[in-house]
Subunit: 424 residues, 4 copies
């Protein structure tokens, strides 16, 4: 049965792979998805209404505007761009017309600012579907996620007669940087959802493996810190300057020293710092990209508050202005035993799956956790799973997924879940 | 003529050497001075009135009280202690009754928290007049200064008939740490002064040399910084603590990095830091002893303001309270050409003086600069001089002055100056 | 049955409470213990042989010498002091002469540099057994541990006829600072041990509760860091100095910033810093008391290596010498199911015990972990337990244990265990 | 007389202004100069021989190669590029054939990475000679310096019959960043020079003013510091990374805290810092642009050595590699009384010069100081002067010089000097 969808799924994934788009700029991708969903008969929700405005993070309107122009030049219709209201992503709604549960699946659609390798043996080079956009790449498999989502849509349309309740396919923008899920989770689109499932390709699973994510995934906050001081000639009048560079440097090392907490494991990273205008000029500007994590919401909240207070204090210390922007947030992973049990049953029924793993302490951070938490807190059942691929590690220029073998497992997991929950 | 005073001067100095007292606690010393001056017929000004209250710095009332008790036990009368109102130092006033200029001399009287060497060849050990107070020593020669002042007083009384105008002998407490002079300078005692001279023994002059101090001497501010955080078990709940130790450490290294200024040369020192209660406890307390200097008042002011802002900012950064106390201040050295010329003439007339040096850029800091500045700004003539001694360096346990040879030069400089300004 | 021992145990504990001695200086305490054990017929092991020399940590020979003098003045015989070879602690060995297992118990004997409260309602004040040594106190209950050990010894002597195998009562010095157990664990005294049990009073248990310690207790390393620079006058020639203070400050904040590790939870504390000689002198000396912890040996090892490298690097950075001394170490807690099961049975059989708790993640650090690990790694059974007391928190001047009610539980746990393992 | 040269000088300056080239890449500029000098009959020295190889600093061969390609595209002949051997700048030698002194003048030729303003009133916009190269601009007047040098060359050729000795016109590359002069000074081209004069436009002089530079100009060292650590995922395995970013930050704040020195005033600047690859990645790379200055060579040497030691120490501290490159150096300004006196006389003879200033403490840094020092140390006479222009400040996008009025003064100073030293 799956074979019927595999060809299309692989073809879609490869097409998406060629046009990677960063978070909040996925206009070509969204256009592709919406056209397909509409053709299949789905009702489309899109635009601002998908996001609770005050929770939108890590979005730069100048970049969005430029992306819309670029999309227009690549064949996205003006009319469609208007419908987006500048917001990428969409929800495809299928109402069977029959009473039954509301089941939602999350597929994230954004790519990364990573240069794809030009090694000829690389999957996308060998298969002639490498990224056409220099410096951008689907290096985390969201192209595959999206393709699975579209194949699931196709399957739903094909099997509509045998389904009950309603199904929501959430195509989420801006998962990288953990930006898109929180404002989606509070927009109202989940308010009626009974079952919620998200997934990721790869990670700790290789081909033949499915992983059930019980808990883990650290809560995280991504923060941009900007210091603004005052320029002065460093030789002639150093005392007239106020150095944003020294402020940023002290802030960075002080952030590294935030106390460990007994409320859970924590992380703190200052991954990027750009400061100063010239060697002999007191630096007027500095930008620091930081993030914190916690194995509990409390621990992450503690870390976040520390960052905000420390950077303000350092601003005062160096007499420079300090502006902190929270540009991304994820929470910890919850799941319900029932959802895990359903996914377990489905996984064990898939022929190509040799091993079903259980992860009690999923590493990293993932913002699907917001969608899951929302549904669980309102009484629903929710969980995440991982389906394997033989990658060399995510976020690398040579990341690959062996789409023909990996994607069908994702597809079977989602459709198998629907059979458990929404079959007549 | 000088020989008549040498014996007494040396004897006084050695007696004072045995009872060193730190700044603001010189009760035995003040008692000794006042008794002598009164016997010679001087009018005594003492107590609170010698100091402008809001400018008093680096004074701990607990320490003062303990010192008064100790002085009482060493023979200082209760009646005298009452007269002091808790304030050491005094001014001996001699009014000739004849019209003439008002001339003031400054003699500083305090000692240092330095352990005198027990080397038998050390001057005070060989002469049996070593400090009786462990850990305290006249290691900067203020015992000699005081003895010179008393000998000058004796000379004035002896030569009263040949003098005109008025003479003020200022015995200043708490020169170490540059604490005593500023509040004295603004107390009113200098308001009528026409000539003001201060001096120091040693420094860049050895026996046979007198130095005229034209300018230099860095302005300085001494600052005690206290951070108060919150204790917590560093293993069980580190996040509940707020570390005064880490705050102090960051403050110290940040202070070191205060920008150089084009307004003059600067210095910054954090010489002492005591922080924390135990290895496994988040430190609740830290005390930092800092000082800044500037070759101009502007530069020192810049440094002082930086320290105050930085320490507050760091307090916020670490969420700990920060209290800054200014515990000492000196300004830069001014002098008037006329005062320098008079001192030059006097020095060239002293037989044992082989060389008269001129210092355009006196090193270190000295709070007599406040008294000099005050007199010059109100139109008077003022300067400092140095008279030599063959020391190994000040503020050392083996500092020595060869009193029999060095003190007479100081005596002749002051009395010679009086002959120039206040002889009938 | 226990009542027979309670009076003596309470009396012993109160007597020990009056003479608190810090780690490695417990000469009066050891004298007290050895006299009693010898009287009861135990064979005594004492002196250097109890410790593997190269693992001895946190011991200052000057302090030990002074302690021996003080002990001599308080009635410890010269002959006994000679037997100690300068090393406190002892092992009381009871050989039943019958084949059977070797069972070892650990009782730690040292006190803390904490001033006992003078509040009249405080247990020791009300009972007239407060510390006679100012600034020192049994504020962690090791007086009670020792008293329990002596009562267990008494019980063994009383019940010798019904026991088999051999029993070792280890009276360990210097548990505070986690110094004494590691060199004891590798001295050979445990090589033949089959069962090993340690315990602590209080912590997460109150009266009526016993806690079984499954795992937890962070591995820790205590490190003293000394920086030695070069003095210089901070105003006259700051460039000639090399500041140990600034080095220590940078080291402290850099240590705080050691990376979190995925190998386990970690801690880092710089609890104490003493640096510098005077405000206007470049600081020549700094001493920093630091410690790290890890929820795994790997994590603690990572932290320890980071501290050693960072402090050396900072020494180079500031051109000052850096000397690191490891002055204490503990490992994580292991236990064997069998030992836990035996303790569980014993605890459930004690009338005054209402609740038996199980702790999977014991907080803090404890060096009995070395003794336990040693025995387990050689194939033995070992564990720790906690017996309750209604304290206000350990390491406080008002710590109390209600000895009449708490100590009997400890006594019954140990003797009950012996009945399980060493009864004929 | 000057009028004859003014038109050409202004025209040359404006042409040069349109083609600004950064240090070590001045191929178009050098081509322009050499063609002119050759046409006038000068002997040309150019290529590697102008620079002592081991003293070449701040030069990137990739950038030089790209610049040569760009120059080729803008009309510089391949043949000429070959003659340069990749090295810009040249010396024009005029040998009168008559015995007499050797006189050398320095004209620096490089531009700055500054975007010229597009304000229509800006001199270069109004006059239609604005920079054709985006982001690059002659914002320090070196276009004017070069034009003056060419006019002086023209004057020499015109007045050859009345001159004796030899004249060397040194067109120096890479003055910005103080890179070009040191390797030129030790290449041998100055070995026979008796008189050496350099100049700068603007600074503390406005139109109608000439400034004689007696002393000052801080010695400086420009240093690029690169830290190389190891990437790791900041959430999954932070302990596997080694952060070049944190190392750079600690290094920056530690550099700011280098001790003040009694050997002279100092400066330290970290003007630029670029570190890290991504928010959630331990940073593997950091580049820091630093510089130090000293009012004496000793002070600058002290600062330089501190930077080198500190950055290495910090590298060890963070376990990252540290590479320091000295990319520029200048020394302090010396001058000889005779050279100053000659320039004074010349300046007073220029009609448009209303004021001749003397600067005892020239601010900033300038690498012509190396050429001057070299000539003075071998017994020659040398100095610098400033000729005014009504600028808004150097190194700004709106810097202007009013060439028609300012350049003639520079021209008259140099030719007037030649009349004093090399007229028959």
């Amino acid at each position: 049965m799956t074979e019927n969808y595999t060809q299309e799924m692989v073809s879609d994934r490869r097409r998406l792979h060629q046009r990677p788009e960063e978070g909040w700029t996925e206009f070509e991708t969204t256009f592709f998805i919406v056209k397909r969903l509409e053709k299949l008969g789905f009702t489309i929700l899109m635009g601002r209404r998908l996001f609770k405005e005050e929770l939108i993070m890590g979005r730069d309107e100048h970049i969005v505007e430029a992306a819309m122009k670029r999309a227009a030049e690549h064949g996205v219709s003006d009319n469609f761009l208007k419908r987006t209201e500048g917001f990428t992503g969409c929800v495809g709604l299928w109402d069977t017309g029959r009473a039954g549960p509301v089941t939602a699946f999350r597929f994230d659609i954004d790519a990364l600012p990573i240069q794809e390798t030009d090694a000829p043996e690389h999957e996308a080079n060998a298969g002639c579907f490498a990224s056409e956009r220099p410096g951008l790449m689907h290096a985390c498999g969201h192209d595959g996620h999206t393709a699975v989502g579209l194949a699931v849509a196709h399957w739903i349309a094909d099997h509509a007669a045998k389904l009950k309740g309603r199904i929501k396919l959430i195509f989420q923008p801006a998962e990288e940087g953990t930006r898109g899920a929180l404002p989606m989770s509070e927009s109202g689109i989940l308010d009626d959802v009974n079952y919620m499932v998200g997934s990721h390709i790869g990670n700790a699973c290789h081909l033949g493996e499915v992983g059930l994510c019980i808990s883990g995934s650290m809560a995280t906050t991504k923060i941009d810190v900007r210091f603004t001081g005052l320029s002065a000639h460093a030789g002639l009048a150093p005392e007239k300057g106020r150095s944003a560079l020294f402020a940023a440097c002290n802030a960075a090392t002080t952030l590294a020293g935030i106390a460990r907490t007994s409320q859970g494991e924590t992380r703190v990273s200052v991954g990027k710092l750009i400061a100063g205008e010239g060697r002999n000029v007191v630096a007027a500007h500095a930008l620091m990209q930081a993030e914190v994590r916690g194995s509990t919401e409390e621990a992450n909240q503690f870390m976040t508050e520390e960052v905000l207070r420390i950077t303000q204090g350092i601003g005062q210390t160096y007499n420079v202005a300090c502006d902190c922007q929270i540009v991304g947030r994820a929470t910890t992973l919850m799941s319900t035993p029932k959802a895990i049990a359903l996914l377990d049953e489905v996984a064990r029924g898939i022929g190509s799956v040799k091993t079903v793993k259980r992860f009690d302490n999923v590493g990293g951070s993932e913002d699907c956790t917001w969608l899951i938490r929302k549904v669980i807190l309102q009484g629903g059942e929710a969980a995440m799973f991982i389906f394997g691929c033989n990658h060399h590690g995510h976020h690398r220029g040579d990341f690959c997924i062996q789409d023909t073998q990996s994607l069908p497992v994702g597809f079977e997991m989602f459709t198998g879940f629907l059979i458990k929950t929404n079959a007549c």
